[in-house]
Symmetry: C2
Amino acid sequence: ILLANGVYAAAYPLHDGDYEGENVEFNDRKLLYEEWACYGVFYKYQPIDLVRKYFGEKIGLYFAWLGVYTQMLIPASIVGIIVFLYGCATVDENIPSMEMCDQRQNITMCPLCDKTCSYWKMSSACATARASHLFDNPATVFFSVFMALWGKQGLSGKNIGDDPRFIAEYEARVLEKSLKKESKNKETDKVKLTWRDRFPAYLTNLVSIIFMIAVTFAIVLGVIIYRISMAAALAMNSSPSVRSNIRVTVTATAVIINLVVIILLDEVYGCIARWLTKIEVPKTEKSFEERLIFKAFLLKFVNSYTPIFYVAFFKGRFVGRPGDYVYIFRSFRMEECAPGGCLMELCIQLSIIMLGKQLIQNNLFEIGIPKMKKLIRYLKLKRQSPPDHEECVKRKQRYEVDYNLEPFAGLTPEYMEMIIQFGFVTLFVASFPLAPLFALLNNIIEIRLDAKKFVTELRRPVAVRAKDIGIWYNILRGIGKLAVIINAFVISFTSDFIPRLVYLYMYSKNGTMHGFVNHTLSSFNVSDFQNGTAPNDPLDLGYEVQICRYKDYREPPWSENKYDISKDFWAVLAARLAFVIVFQNLVMFMSDFVDWVIPDIPKDISQQIHKEKVLMVELFMREEQDKQQLLETWMEKERQKDEPPCNHHNPKACPDSLSGPAPSHAYHGGVL
Amino acid sequence: ILLANGVYAAAYPLHDGDYEGENVEFNDRKLLYEEWACYGVFYKYQPIDLVRKYFGEKIGLYFAWLGVYTQMLIPASIVGIIVFLYGCATVDENIPSMEMCDQRQNITMCPLCDKTCSYWKMSSACATARASHLFDNPATVFFSVFMALWGKQGLSGKNIGDDPRFIAEYEARVLEKSLKKESKNKETDKVKLTWRDRFPAYLTNLVSIIFMIAVTFAIVLGVIIYRISMAAALAMNSSPSVRSNIRVTVTATAVIINLVVIILLDEVYGCIARWLTKIEVPKTEKSFEERLIFKAFLLKFVNSYTPIFYVAFFKGRFVGRPGDYVYIFRSFRMEECAPGGCLMELCIQLSIIMLGKQLIQNNLFEIGIPKMKKLIRYLKLKRQSPPDHEECVKRKQRYEVDYNLEPFAGLTPEYMEMIIQFGFVTLFVASFPLAPLFALLNNIIEIRLDAKKFVTELRRPVAVRAKDIGIWYNILRGIGKLAVIINAFVISFTSDFIPRLVYLYMYSKNGTMHGFVNHTLSSFNVSDFQNGTAPNDPLDLGYEVQICRYKDYREPPWSENKYDISKDFWAVLAARLAFVIVFQNLVMFMSDFVDWVIPDIPKDISQQIHKEKVLMVELFMREEQDKQQLLETWMEKERQKDEPPCNHHNPKACPDSLSGPAPSHAYHGGVL
């Protein structure tokens, strides 16, 4: 209350002392700094108990969760590397990419844009095809199943929420908490806001969120149009070196624009979510946090993943066909995927956004900006305090030193960053098996970076009790579920896995993949081009083109219903959908099966809890007896004394396990 | 131990007294009989607390669960009736069935069996088509979604397992139990069986289960062959009245055979499962029960549902095509579904098996056999005791009267019956919307029947503590999950819902269903029949047949690839699969959404639990203080007495909530 009235500028617990220097006495902060907040100890387990003791349970839980998550990334990374290496090893045996690279096949492809683009040779996309095999091979399917199970099982919070260390103490705390809560509820219930009061705020919320999601979509659409027009413009360029790198240039610039927009909007959306939650006036701190997290997550999720979703599921699907292309705004022809399949592009998009986000957010926002702020504050302080007080500054009190540090802003940004990363790792893992590896590398740094931040750069936060990671657990579970279905769709629709299988079992004459590339291409008679869309410079290849090929399953020009969708299309579509059903239910079944086979850990924990309860009761009994004996002896000796048996002079007699071993500093209180 | 050595013939708690007669004093048993075990009170809630007090927690839980389940069936039944009435109301507006009944269309269908069957007119299947609309209409799809949610949510055990009444006492009991368990474990651990010892038993288990499942499949196959040969034999019959009822006769007899086999095998499999579990030598009573339940459930599930699965997903799907039929054992042509779709047949099969099972098992096994056993035992007793002891018999002791009653055989059969019923209600509800209604009617009787059995016909069972319904909860959840996917497949593959949608949006010229029947039929040129398979008597219809129609999506005889699977087939297949994906994920999402929107009940419960804990602790504290005061006063007054404050003479001072309010009769012990 004093804080709210402006009497105090800030209230925070003090740090234990300095963490550096030789002549500081030994304290927890120094220990943490040496054993935890250095990059040198990255291979060690974190001293979670000490962290919890020093910073409180909530922050302890965050680091414990981060540690478990990082540990779990290790097997995922290893399997991902193996899958990638398998792709590298088999790239030369891959018949479809060999066929695409084969100069003798000499397949003439239809132009990729109207007028300015010319026909092109299939073999010019050889490199892309070979690269895409690295990520689009049968091992990826197994990896997806593995990662779907990993995502559903691994982070189900069992390891964290039910950690017996936490539970043992939790029991007692719940008691205190519920007592507190009751008194708190009584106060707030008096001025309860009705639904009518809240309605405008809720409406604002809904409208703003929809508006911001629309903004995100609009930006993605803008980038698409930028790509289309850039590609057309570059294709007009006469320099052959420019023309040969069109795709690379356009993709790279577009992804970078996307990345910058994502990072900027992330910050903007964070602020807006905070503002929106404030006007909702939630009842409790916890409710405020949950609403804020939900909104911020929704916005950041849409923001981060929209471009990736576009590439994975929409790009190249609604392009129409030669002679009847689909146009947006009547002038931009929808872009197609590279001949190696959209998976390669998805992979590029994903890796750049994921890596760029991690690097920029880690380096700039988590290291750079706090350092800068510190500098600014230091300079300000220096200007205020005249130089003759130097002596005083040197011996300044602990609280003055701590005041120079950045205030603690909550764990939400840290969690959010990790959850979005978890999304990158699980949602589209089918297209980028190396994602877990990059996440692992990032997290190893992230743990120590965060640790350093907490030990050296932030004021010591007020210890907050927490039972589990709260709403984050639900979000993680949601992502885990979403990951299954998205991976199923990526494998069946974005990759060429299913068309290859269908070809192998339905069409292949000798049981090999020979002829697959030819099978996926439809023919188009160039005389059927609409007016003004035929290439201006058709003789680029040195011979006259009569039939060009395009990637789709349609009837050939000599068929009765020419350019209609063919039977093959429907057969492949049915196979793709069947795969989705099989994949999803297989993962669900396996997930349940794993749950059923490995119920040992929870059982052990529940047994331990029971044992602890038994001990608790025994303790009570014993103490009662002790007390009686004590009383008997006391009463005889010192009748005049009326001392209650449980107080600070006689702490051993108190039922310790009930009042709970609260962190020692919880009694320090906030001092300035 | 005495029981095991044969010293005692049986050990059981006594009943409270007689439940009938005017001059018996008032007791719990009489109260239960009047307020619970009569059919007259079927509309009342059950007196669960009294049941729990009298029979112990486990049986109380069973009846509580049964009550909740029955209550939940009420909304499901109402919605089911509405769906059925909707079907009745719209049957005359249904264009496909109108087209089928239209005599003018005059579609000649291909024969349903080789040689003996002749061509037949589409309009002769008019009645089936109209009947099948009752169950196969758009409302069924909504009903399936509703029931899938109902199955997933309703019985998730929240309402039962977490019932605060149970939990309040559970807390204390766990303590006792875990103490007991520890001592028990110590004994058994000494003679722990190694994996090597158990291997033969496990192998026997596995082999037996696989063998019995194979037996079930073989029986179903046998019934199929019976149907095929019966149909062919009846078709040869010259009497026209026999020939017109072929389908009804064959279906009815086959289903009855199935039903009898299911009921017989149910009993056999129950015994085998018990034997298999015995040779496994499980460690504890609970482990024994769980293993037994798992095995028995697996076998009974396969036994009950295999014929239904066959009709739903396999019948009529692998028949080949005219001129190239599929034969099993080289002589039996696979049977086709009726022209109204297999859904009608599935509906008949389901209703007969469900109703028959309930009626026979309820009446015969639950009423008839116990009565007969009682009679036999009574006669035996009469023969043993000479007539001059009549006086003695009349005034025989409570334990003698009770010995005449049937011993309590566990709740497994009761639960099993209900779970199998739950499977009928949820798994194939898309084909038979009235299933919940029949289940409801059955359960209303079942509750009172079971109640009567427990009160009047069984010896009073030893009270057993139970926290929740145990493994049954997992089985229920499993069925709930399975129901979603099975209903999705029933709607998309067994019903004509998807082909109709596809026709409406892809092929229909004027946006109506006119022409749908024609679209689903392919043409066959009768000159393409294989040798010896053409009908012997083709002129049955009065005109010569050149083209006959059959239900499939294949190319017409005048096409290039005649009788090949057509594009339509793949398009419909893709639509069916897409529907499965949409349905499954929609239900999953809605289920999660409902969970998220209605978290109030668990919250309330957890708050209540916290409050109870708080109260418990306060109680402790107060008692401690009381005791101190007591001690102080006592010690002064009666120094010579060394009485411990907590014993039977002073029960008020004992911490009641810890030792737990055990059912009163638990102290009676077993007496004979």
